[in-house]
């Protein structure tokens, strides 16, 4: 095992050295502006993620959903019997969560709405929405929040979002629609998807906590 480790480390360092000496000439970057212009957006990364490689993104979201279903499935029977260890709740955390929640939500929506003309997009916005939910959960307690955010309904929404995303992919790829509105819609769907998945993971791990 140690031999493998040393070999792997030496290989990595050798790769780094060979790259830095300049054995492989680094090619010029291709001009990405025509790609962005062809899809009618300003952000070339968005044009690649949601345009040229839309199949890739759709199947990535499918992999994400499958992994989240796996997490739910494996943790389904993992209810800690007895009293759950309490989550520390402080007034400072609750007040600051109240203050921060609005700006964080608005920022996530901004990233969704402007993801095609600037930095942003569905995946970061989804992560920010998920961390807003984490903030809420820290402030209010996971049990109270999961009673309010009824999970089976969210789960159904998750699958509906996937269906909508497939539909949108068909519209963009088969009918050849290239409009900024399609990008905003795709960003919104991806953000909802990622946020629900992150919340599901957080909630499942939190309700399966305790000594095993």
């Amino acid at each position: 095992m140690k031999f493998l480790l040393v070999c792997g480390l030496a290989g990595l360092l050798g790769l780094l050295g060979a790259g830095l000496i300049g054995i492989w000439p680094r090619p010029e970057f291709p001009d990405s502006d025509p790609v962005a212009k062809a899809w009618g957006v300003a952000n070339a990364v968005a044009a690649v993620v949601l345009g040229v490689r839309l199949w890739d993104t759709i199947f990535e979201v499918l992999v994400y959903v499958v992994a989240m279903v796996g997490v739910r499935f494996f943790l389904l029977g993992m209810r800690w019997h007895g009293e759950l260890p309490p989550v520390a709740e402080t007034p400072l955390l609750r007040r600051s969560a109240d203050l921060l929640l609005g700006p964080v939500l608005v920022f996530a929506l901004y990233l969704v709405a402007s993801g095609h003309i600037g930095p942003g997009g569905g995946f970061p916005a989804g992560a920010i929405l998920g961390s807003a939910l984490l903030l809420l959960a820290l402030a209010k307690g996971v049990e109270r929040l999961s009673a309010e955010l009824y999970e089976p309904r969210l789960e159904r929404l998750e699958y509906v979002v996937v269906v909508f995303l497939l539909f949108l992919g068909a519209v963009v790829l088969i009918l050849g629609v290239r409009a900024p509105a399609a990008f905003v819609a795709a960003n919104l769907l991806v953000a909802v998807e990622v946020a629900i998945g992150a919340w599901a993971v957080l909630h499942r791990f939190a309700s399966a906590r305790g000594e095993v």
């Binding site: 790259g19 502006d33 990535e60 943790l75 993992m78």
Partner: protein, 112 residues
Amino acid sequence: MESLSGLSLAVVLAALGLWVMVSRRNLVWKLLGLGVASGGSILFLVALSHRPGVRPPILGLGPGPAADPLPQALVLTAIVIRFATLALALALVILLTEHRHTQDSRRLEEEE
């Protein structure tokens, strides 16, 4: 040579993650090492797609060549998949701990 620091840090992170994955016997530590190693590979791709003097791959952000958007798009995919697979692996570790009462990979192998 330009983005030397980013590439070097990426390789150091990958090596650190690899070291933790091999040398630690606890499964959670192994998963942490996997996370660090994949973070290193992500940083490697991002550092390759950037050079000094290039602008972000967004139209209308000044003159000059734009950074390559393709590695950034790949990295976006990699980050999300990494999150999902790490969550799934941690769930499996919880399940394993519930059934076998250990997270030690060597003891798990010996008990086979």
